[in-house]
Each structure stands twice: as C-alpha cells, then as structure tokens.
Symmetry: C2
Subunit: 688 residues, 2 copies
C-alpha cells in the first residue's frame, strides 16, 4: 500500500474484522449490473467496485447480467432490471432528484441482494461510493435501507490552473491538467481525480483559471477543443460536467472581431457560432465561468454596458444547448485610493449587482463569494447572497487556503462554511438561510448551488498538506448534505483516509475542529482581515495592504483600529443587510466580537463582550494561538507509530513550520500593536 | 542627429561659432599619429577623432606619419616621435602616473601643433577625449598647456548582469552583454559602451553579476572563454581591463572537485590551472571579483576557513599573471531575528574583516561599500574603510539607483559620493580622508581605488532616465579628479549631453544639485533608511523590512524612532570609528541631524539642531519634497522647445511619475507617523 496520500479517502484499507469481511464478501462477490455502456457512470461504478473490493476484502467480484447465486449486489438505474423494480425498492424510490439513490437489502424469490438503485446512472455511481464508504468504515450492511439525494443541484469545483502549468493560489504543486501550454489529457491522474470528485458528489468542474490569459483563450478554439473533449470524456464517465472559464474579450484576443461589446451583433453572432463549435466537440458541455470587469480583466463596462448585458450575451449563445453562464460578482475598484475613506470595497458586489436583479437570463447564474471581501479567515456573509430574488446564484467558497495558511497551516474550513450556510439572511423572513437560498428553496431559482476554488495540484498527496484533504472531502460532503456536522465529516474523513485507530481519529477530529479558531487567533484579529504579505498572502505584514490600492485597510492608529462601516458614521455597508441584521452589526453593543473590527473603528481599550479590551484580546489570542499549535504538535507526536511513518513525518514537518510561522504572527502582531498603542500586556509576556 | 540619448555625452554637437570652428579645423585637419597598431588605444583615439570631427566641425581629418602642413595635431606616447619629445612638452611630461597626459600647443621649425602626449597609449586616448571635450564645450584651444593624471589607479565599473539577460537592480532594460545565456560579443553596442567608458577614464570592468549563478560559473571555462575574450579585446583597445565575478564554489558547481575548501590542495591547484586557462585566452585579464559568504552565497566559512584563506587562495592563483582579487566585504547575517536588538548589521563588515588586517596577499583588495548598510539615500561612511592599514581596499559606490528612485526619480549622486570622499576618518590623524585613503596616500596600499555598480542597460539612452546618465558620467570624472565640484561636473555633462543653451544647462545643473536632497526629503528621514517595498526597493513600505530577517529596522513606536547604535546603551557600533568621530556620533547633542536616527532612538518630540522636532521635521520635509518636485517640473516645462522634443517629453513623463510616487511617499510616511505618534502637523496640512 502506498502511503503517499495519493489514494486519499479512497484508500480502501483492508477490513480487519473477519466477520465483517465475510459479510461484505457475501453481498459483493457477485454483482448484477445489467447491461451498461463503456465509459459510463455505471461502468465507473463497477470499475470502482473492482478496484476497491480486492483491497477491502481480498475478492475480485464477478459481474453478471443475471445472477444465479443466492446473495449478490444489484446495481443500476431504478427500474432497469427486475431487481431494481420500483415496487421492490419501495417509496424511497420516489426520489425527487435525479441524482438520488437507494441502498436497500431485498429478499425476493429465495435470492437476497443489496440493491443500489439510482435515479440516474450518475446516482448509481454515488450509491456505490456510499456503499464503499460504509464498508471502509466497518459498518454492517446486512440490513440496510436508506435513500440519499443531494441538497444542491450545482456542486461545482473551480480550478485556477493556467496553461503554463502554474496554479494561481495553488499550494500543492503544479497543474494536473496543463503543462507548458499543453493539455495533459492522457494523464492517468485525471481519472483518479475524477474518481475522488465523484466519490464526494461533485458534478461540475472548470479546469482553467478565472483569470483567462492569452493561452487559455484558445481552449474554446478548434486547435484545443479536441484535447478539452478528452477531459470532458473522463469527467462524463464520472458524472461530472466540464465547464470552461472564458476570456470576456475573446473576440478581440483571438483577432476575430475588433470589439467585445455585448450588444454588437458581430460579437453576439461570434459567440453563438463559438457555442456551436464547443457543443459539437462536447455535447454535454456545462457552460462558461466568467470573471469580467474585475481586477483589470476586460468586461462590458468598456463599452458602456452592464453585467446583465455581458452575461446575457453569453447566456443567449449557450441557451440552445442547455449551457450555463456563471458570472462572478467579485467586482470592485482595485485602484482605490487609501486616502479616500468613503469608498468601501465591501459594498462593491452589492452595489454593482443588486440593481440588476431580474435582468439576467435564466441560464445565467451569479457566482457570489461567501464574504464581501475575499476569503478572509473571518468575514460577515455577503449581503448580496439572497438579495436578488429574480436572479440565479451560487455561493463561492475557497478550498485552497489562500488566506488561511496556504496548506502549510492546518485550517479545517468546514465549520466556517457551515456558519455561512446557517446564516439567516432574513431576506424572506426567518429561515432564509444561505443554506436554503443556495438550494433554491427561498427564491424560485432555476439554477443554484455552491462552487469553490479547489486546493489540489500535482503533489503526491494532491493537497500539499495531508490534512488539507479534509477540506476537499468535506466540501463535497457538505454540498451533498449540509446538515452533516463538521465533526462527523472530519471523523468520516479521518477514518477513510488515515486509520481505523480511534486514537488517531479522535486526535485528527479534535485538531481539525479547533484548527480554524487557532489560525484565526494568531492572525488578523476580530474580523479586520488582511495583514498579510502583499501578493503572497502568507505570513504577517500588518501594513502590507494598508496604503495600497486594494481597498483593504485596518486604519490602526495609536488610539484604535477597525473599519467604520456603519450607516451612522461610516461607509454605510451595514445597510446592505436586512434591517434586523443591519441593526445588530450597526450597533457596537450587539455587533459580535469576532466581527467587531470589520464593522467598527474602536479604541484599543474598548471592552468586548468577552470582558476583555481589544488590545488585551489581541495579546491573549496571539499567545494562545501559538500555545495551541504547540499543544497539537505534542498530541501528534503521541501518534508516532500509530500513523505510517511517511505521513507522520510529513505532517510533523508541516506542523513545525506552522509553529514557526505562528510565532512570527504572534510576535509581529503583538509588537506592532504594543508599539502603536503603548499599552502593555496585562500578563507581562514578552512583546518586542 | 539621433536624439535618443544613445550618444550620451559623446554627442559632438556641431560647433555653431564659425571662428571657433575654424580654429578647431586648423588644429585638427591633419593628425600626426606615427605608426600604431590596429585595435590599440591609439587606434581608438584616432577613430574617435574621425567620428567626432565631422560632427563637430564638418571635416574628416587626414592621418599622416610625417605632416607637411604648418598646423596639425600630434598624438602619441611621450617620446614616440620628434613632436612629442620630452623636452618640447616640458616638465609637465614628468607624469608620475602612466595614465597621465599632456595637451600643449607647440611651435617648432615653423610648424605649430597641438601635442597630445600620453605616458601610455591609453593616456593618449584620454588626452584625445579631453581635447574633444574642450571642443564640444566651445573652449579655445589656441594656447593650451595642461597636464592631467588620474587620482585613482583602479577606476572600476561592476555590472550585475546575468547571463539570461536580466540585470540585478537594473533599471534601464536588459543586459548589453548577455541574452538567453549567450554572450553578445559581436554587438556593436559593446564598442560604443567602451567609448563612453574610456571617455570618462574607466580602466577596469566586470561584466557579470557578483551573484554568480550556475550559467555564469561557466564564464571561466573553455566553453565560454573565447567569447569572453572578444569582450576583453574590445575593452583592451579602449584601455579597459576585463574582470570577471567568479563563483567561490566553482570547483563544486562545475563538478570538478567536491569541495571548495580554500586550504584543500586540490582546490588550490584547480584555481591555479583555471588562472592559466583564463590568461591563455586573455593575457591581460584583470582578475576576479568575489562575493563570498554573503546573502547565502557560498564561501570559506563553510569549511571553517576565514575570508583571508578564501581570498588568498584565489590571489595565489592569479599572482603569476599579475591578476587581482576583489573580495567584497558585504558580509552580514541575513537571517537575523528582528526580535534580537543586540545584533547590528551595521557592525558586520568591520567585525568580520578588521581582525584579518595584514593577512591578505598584496594582490587581494577588499571591496568596501560606502556605508555600513546598503547604498541607502543617507548612511554614515563605512568605518571599515581606512581601518585596515595593511590591507588593500577599494571603495564601492552604487551608480544604479537601487534605493534612490531606480532611475524613475532624479537623484544626482555625485554630491553624496563627494561627501563620502571628503569624510575624514582620522585613522592616521587629520586629513585621513576617504579620498586620500582610496588613492593609497594614507596607507601603503599596493592597489586601491574606487569601484561602482553601474546603471546601464540596453535602453536606447543606456540609463532609462536621460538624467541618470549624469551619475555615470560624474562617476568617471570624479574618479579621475575628486576635486572637481559636483556643479562643474553637472555643467560639463549638461553641456556635452544636452545643449549649448545656458538656460537649459542652468536648469539641469540646479535641478541635479538639489535632486539628492529632494529624494531624501520625501523618503526615509534622518538617516534611518529603508522603509521601501521589500525586494523591489521602490516606493514606500514603512514596516516593509521592520520585522524581517535582513537586519534593517527603524524601531518606531508611539513614542519615538531610531536605532540606538551608541556604546553607552546601544549596539556599540559607534566604537568602530576613531574616538573623535565616535564621540560626535555617540552624543545626541553633536550627532548630525541627517544621521540622527541612524545612531539614536529618540522621541518624536526631540528637537533637532534645526530647531524642529523630529516629527515636525518629518512632516515638513515630506511636504517640501513633493513641492520641490512640482517646482522642478514647472521649470522643466519652461524648456519646451529648448530641448529636443523626444528627450523633453521622455523626461517630463518620468518627472510626472516621480511626482506621483513622491506623493505616495509623503502621504504614507506622514500618515504612518501621525497615526503612530498622534502628534498633529503644526501647519495643519492634510495627513490621512
């Protein structure tokens, strides 16, 4: 068994309990699969069983059309065989979602079988992964009866991979899709990656960066489409639709029309022809993701048009083929003058898009980052999400740890995303949570769901830090079922990925569960964000963005710190929320501590709800954060021998690096604020 | 006439005064040059006359061995012809220096001639450039009688060019020597560059970066030596010796000996053989420049040896061929912990090298940066210079404006260098100026002089900013005669490079003379240095290096700022100076304002000799600096039409950029200190 982490949660460790193994063997030695096409999700499901079962229980299953044995596994689309008849599977088969499936043990005519019946082929694949997950966790499958369907329709992954092989904000090596402007379409790694993604229910994927440079502009041309189609074929057999990020100004960049004006007839026509070409190559192509008029990318503004004009032009082109347009809302003035305190980057997405509600076609989806800034360790939920009842939307998370330790620090993000999902926007009264809005249950969206920038690269273990795999795993699991707890997801991941040892699992779960709070404690305090080395976004630089054009300031002076975003005396950002919520944030007394400096500029001596002053909170959390890293290193060290040496040492090395870097954060932040405020630590600890 | 600036100060603008032109024609229409070799300095001198005279006065001179005309120019080495007999030239011919020359009008046997008699061929070339300089400035040459010789023997230029074509700290395009790891030995630009350098008396040059990466390590191998020899041949004909920077660990890097231990017999032998090879290819090769044990470069420390061991090993190898070793003293701990205030980078060069005095071979020369830090806009003079009576030394300046505006800001550095040269170290009592130490007049050096990192690249005008040419010109002129005033050098340069217009010249001289002080006024205050964007060293980032490993701190807190380098309570750096000088710096009352924060940590309310508080000084200078840039832009705009449009607009564009950047400096520095100190500007100007 390789211990590089390459198999991730599809490790299929040998089942050590003989009784269980015998039970699994009995159910899975024979597989009734009916007839199925090659390179289909059913074929992938069978392939997965053939890969997994030898490892799990040492058997190679026999795949038959009509089983003569007494006990077997029956897989297929509901109703595709006598074993999977709706009446046998029962009411659970009334799945509302075509990605739902049933797992059920059934006895009929002296045969017992475990049915995996999907509402679609892809659903069957999900059901098989479910079964394998149960087996890998040592669950009994003797009397099983369950049905599952995903909460969200769109369960997307975005790659920020460039064709030169680099990955923007990638911390796990280079691209698995591209190198030196070539497409790695025949790489076996693509299949393994599709397996990992399908196993957690991902059903859509972009492979290239939202910042589409010149080489990637050619992905939608005849030169490269045949190669792109190869990726699409692999993904298709795992139920994943391929999407591409496109250059809004492709007409110009490719030298075919001298404008990119979305209302220009030639531009419209060009994109319609382009859509035809793309769909000729990839009949089930998903659509386009677009970053326009953002961070110096071209867009409709150049022509005095707005985002609706731009997005709809692409939407029209894709409409005949059922394609979608994801239009990113990460639009702000990135040439802001730090001297001007009236401009507020946090306001930008809402200010730009809210007035356009109702103007977008129904195959256009706004892609809205979870917070108003940019994937900081702590931000309020974007007020734009839910604010446009007549416009499709997806929430965008960031799995890659751009601002949360870059996969050198451990930061399990599922709790953060759950907080976002549970946030009640109140846009249609109580219960208008992000979770339900993204599911299309609050507004009548035709398309909705969740997307995220992923964290993988060509590192042996995919994610650089072994523990960063948990974020990718958890992301998929959460999109399937956002009611899973962070702990349960972590436990499931730890069991599948690491060890059946309860000690190892407990340590991993406990550590993961605390890791976000630890990272937050030694980095920027109380929701103010940033304070990172410009451009790299790793390591502390308190004033790194303070006098920049990026709109990312903390305004610390000798008396206090924070951004006044109140209506009363600040930028008025709070008014973008529903009145109840706005009131909470607007009021210094009710604003939650963890977001205090996001909403208010306060003296260092301001007393938090915790009873501490802001300055003492800064000192305390920064000392504690480092202490907690030290604690978790000691806990990890107790696992020596319990975890394979390769991963043990790799993780230990990263933890030690995290410790060193967390000390830099602690000492630089504490020193900065001590020097600035002149207020000493109550406990007299060392500040330089 | 091209107006790109390519000709720089060898523009040879047409002499507009007919009488003068006639005078020049009479003296130069015929040139008696004796016999001379091709590709020799004499050939270059004649070539220069043939290039210059058609432009200056519209004639093509006739070069003869024995002139039959009544009036002519006679050039050659003293005594090489009857015209250049020592008795005719007079006592001035008793030149102590083999690079000295005489210019003298002589009448003999009914012939009148202007003699340019050099102590060597190279000196003749210098004499010719002198004559051309006089003509280009419109001076009468009818009754001329002068002799010149350089103050310094080693008048070096260092390039930080990499073989990929990039230039470390280069702000004027890419390398003229290298591109894509090829040597551009046949580029015509090399000859023009050699002409420019010879015209200001440069006699030694390295072509590759002191940071010798893998490709440049091969410059001393048979693969590349033939190409290097081509550069050497061009330089030779202009009196310039070629030197190379070598990789101290070349034995290892080239895979020939597995160690670089300077006491290892195989290493010694390898370098001896290497020297033989190099001298076989380039018989007059100058020698090696070495950056060892510095900023992560390899060096003798790796083997428990010291700098003397390392330098002498190379010195021994070069000795048989008369080669020199320049050993850079830019050695410090570049992994310093900012938390540790006892370590002081400023101390490093002295602490490392002073104990080694007397241990270096006499063909080894220590290369000492002008200040103890790194070419800041303001630093004290390095206490190491002059502190080692028994060790050869050269002073290292930086012409390329790494920390002084990167050739986007105007910063005429001659006044800065003159301050350094006039600094009295008192190492052998009063009068032990840097100027005299570098000339070998204080300690009995066998080799000494001055070197500098140059500012040229392949930009059309060589230096990016047209006005940055003045630093290169002035550097050469200063090394020839450090008693020239900064104004006179600027005036000479402006006349040769720009225009005979007195208005233009006066504007340029006045602006250049104020430019260093302007740049200093809006950047880091009172000698504290740094505050620049890390790595790039352009634009303000007050804390950019504050919490770094580089040893470059200002320690600003809410009460005060500065580095305590006193013996009494600080790092003790002041003790590295002679007692008189140390006392001046040690004492807060006597320490000069402009270096106050280099030596002392003081409250913002400390009152300077100027009568202002430190904080008010910061505010005032930063407002004034920007105002002065505005003033000089208005002055420049008055020259529209007086200066050719190409250079007028180019310079105007750079000045406007300088203005914008100076406003960033002003506002960020002022805001930083206002936020930190809470002390308002007395004049109530806008601080953010």
């Amino acid at each position: 068994m390789k211990l590089s982490g390459y198999e991730a949660w599809l490790r299929y460790d040998k089942v050590k309990d003989d009784q269980l193994a015998a039970q699994y063997q009995a159910w899975t030695a024979t597989i009734a699969a009916g007839s199925y096409k090659q390179a289909s999700p059913i074929a992938s499901a069978i392939n997965e069983l053939q890969l997994a079962l030898p490892k799990l229980i040492g058997i190679t299953p026999q795949v038959v059309i009509e089983p003569s044995v007494k006990q077997f596994l029956a897989i297929g689309v509901v109703g595709s065989s006598a074993y999977l008849d709706e009446s046998l599977i029962g009411p659970m088969a009334a799945l509302s979602h075509n990605e739902g499936y049933v797992l059920k043990t059934i006895t009929k005519d002296e045969q017992s079988y475990l049915a995996i019946a999907g509402a679609s082929e892809q659903a069957v694949l999900y059901g098989v992964f479910h079964l394998l997950r149960l087996m890998a966790q040592g669950e009994s499958i003797d009397a099983i009866s369950l049905s599952e369907q995903p909460k969200y329709n769109l369960r997307m992954i975005n790659h920020w991979d460039n064709m030169d092989g680099s990955i923007e904000r990638g911390y796990a090596g280079r691209s698995i899709f591209f190198n030196k402007n070539e497409l790695l379409a025949d790489s076996p790694r693509i299949v393994d990656y599709a397996r990992l993604m399908a196993s957690i229910g991902i059903n859509g994927m972009t492979i290239n960066n939202v910042n589409v440079h010149r080489p990637e502009t050619f992905l939608i041309t005849e030169k490269l489409l045949p190669q792109v189609a190869k990726f699409a074929a692999v993904f298709r057999s795992y139920g994943i639709k391929l999407f591409l990020c496109v250059n809004y100004a492709a007409t110009i960049e490719l030298g075919e029309v001298e404008t990119a004006d979305p209302l220009d007839a030639r531009v419209k026509e060009w994109w319609k022809q382009k859509a035809k070409e793309v769909y000729a190559a990839i009949p089930d192509f998903g659509g386009f993701v677009v970053k326009a008029d953002s961070e110096n990318r071209p867009g409709p503004f150049t022509y005095g048009r707005d985002h609706a004009d731009g997005a709809n032009m692409l939407g029209e082109a894709l409409k005949p083929f059922g394609g979608l347009v994801f239009w990113r809302c990460f639009v702000y003035n990135c040439h802001q003058d730090w001297r001007d305190r009236s401009t507020d980057r946090a306001r930008a997405a809402y200010d730009h898009f809210k007035p356009l509600d109702g103007r977008f076609l129904d195959n256009v989806i706004l892609q809205i980052k979870n917070g108003p800034m940019d994937f900081q360790v702590r931000e309020p939920v974007s007020p734009l999400f839910g604010a446009m009842p007549n416009t499709n939307a997806v929430m965008e998370f960031q799995i890659t740890q751009e601002y949360t330790g870059q996969q050198r620090h451990v930061c399990y993000l599922i709790p953060q995303w759950k907080e976002v999902l549970e946030f009640d926007t109140k846009v249609k009264g109580e219960g208008s949570t992000v979770k339900e809005i993204a599911a299309g249950n609050i507004h009548p969206y035709t398309h909705s769901g969740i997307t995220a920038v992923t964290n993988i690269g060509d590192d042996a273990n995919w994610t650089g830090h072994h523990l960063a795999q948990s974020n990718l795993y958890g992301y998929g699991r959460l999109l399937w079922n956002p009611d899973l707890s962070s702990e349960d997801i972590a436990a499931e991941w730890a069991r599948l990925t690491f060890s059946e040892s309860a000690v190892v699992q407990q340590m991993l779960v406990d550590f993961l569960m605390e890791s976000w709070s630890i990272y937050e404690s030694y980095t920027s305090p109380l929701g103010v964000g940033w304070m990172v080395t410009p451009h790299y976004h790793y390591g502390p630089d308190i004033d790194g963005y303070e006098y920049s054009k990026w709109g990312t300031y903390h305004f610390a002076d000798h008396k206090g710190i924070g951004v006044n975003r109140t209506v009363a005396s600040g930028t008025g950002y709070t008014s973008q929320y529903q009145p109840d919520i706005a009131a909470v944030y607007e009021n210094l007394e009710t604003c939650p501590d963890e977001l205090l400096l996001f909403f208010h500029h306060v003296p260092y001596t301001h007393v938090l709800h915790s009873g501490k002053t802001v300055i003492q909170h800064i000192y305390d959390t920064h000392f504690q954060g480092v202490e907690r890293v030290e604690y978790w290193i000691s806990r990890w060290q107790q696992l020596e021998g319990e975890v394979d040496a390769e991963r043990y040492n790799h993780i230990l090395g990263r933890l030690q690096h995290q410790l060193e870097n967390s000390k830099d954060w602690r000492d630089i932040i504490n020193t900065y604020f001590y020097r600035k405020s002149g207020i000493a630590d109550e406990q007299g600890r060392t500040i330089y």
